[in-house]
Symmetry: C2
Subunit: 193 residues, 2 copies
């Protein structure tokens, strides 16, 4: 069984994100985006889950939730959640995330974007796994919370993952579901063998 | 590429469910359990997503959400969500669900439980896919919202799926993440080939 052993980081972008009109905005924090994605992250042994938001009020909200589950009543009530929240960090922007990863893993990460659209340079899950197996590079996988990542962000990315298709054409998954499926496809040991 | 073409149904149990002390309870409805799982269900071409709850007040809440997204303002605002919500139904109990499926698909479904624990008769994802490929039987995949399904429910099930492991021992996924990963593992076309 081939195991992916790279340092994996994930990031949830609240800014810069497109809204449905194509304008650049900052989306607001959703409780369960923190909850669910940090638990998936911990399950797939992600080193850090960066919540990327530049607004003071939103960052305060994220921090309050983190404190509740790592130090507050929540930490006592649910120890698994404390463990999960230990991988979460807040960052202002992508540059700060890249700097932190480079510091932790000793080298710059390859950046992988995820999007529900197909791009000329979209990469399949099979090929992405192969790339991870062939190198020791750390990877940063980016998820967006609005209507798609901006061109500026996509230009910074080394790869754009193919959209997830199930059995049919409908592919409007929540970011929580998409992150779960993507981490499973890229990082699970080969259960199909 | 082998495609799973069986009629697939999913059910979310709010009752009977264990709480953390092992007592039998009814869990309360969580907004995003409806939102996220119905979108995953639609993505994987699930025929019906049954939300199983026997409490009048809780059923009224679920109905209100369904109406909002299929007929109300939400249906206008977000057409994808209307499409997703079209597969959702409310049921009082598992017996009612089995009856409805038998009526729609013309035969009784095989019932598949999901649980974060290992059982002596747990089945792997690979073997479960094989079983689906080898028959035309409809399948009902059951997800729980508390601390595990009750013995009575498990006894009604034909199979219990193995827990999801990522890269390590932590396996405390939300039901939304677990449902996403399980439907992807069982129903996606073979992206690894």
């Amino acid at each position: 069984m081939l195991k992916i052993e790279n340092d994996i980081y994930i990031g949830l972008l609240h800014y810069p994100i497109h809204n449905r009109k194509g304008e650049i905005i900052t989306t607001t924090v959703t409780n369960l985006d923190l909850h669910d994605i940090t638990r998936v992250g911990k399950t797939y042994d992600v080193k850090k889950y960066f919540v990327i938001n530049h607004l003071k009020s939103q960052k305060a909200l994220i921090k309050r939730m983190m404190n509740y589950w790592t130090d507050g009543y929540g930490a006592e009530f649910n120890k698994n959640r404390k463990q999960a929240y230990s991988i979460m960090e807040i960052a202002d922007n992508l540059q700060e995330v890249i700097k932190k990863i480079t510091c932790i893993s000793g080298r710059k990460p390859k950046i992988v974007a995820t999007d529900a659209k197909v791009f000329p340079n979209s990469i399949s899950y099979k090929d992405m796994r192969k790339k991870m197996l062939d190198s020791k590079t750390p990877y940063l996988i980016l998820f967006g919370t609005g209507w798609g990542l901006t061109e500026n962000t996509l230009e910074l990315c080394d790869y754009i993952l193919a959209p997830i298709y199930g059995r049919g054409e409908f592919n409007h998954l929540s970011v929580r579901s998409a992150a779960s499926i993507i981490l499973d496809r890229l990082l699970a040991t080969e259960w199909w063998k």
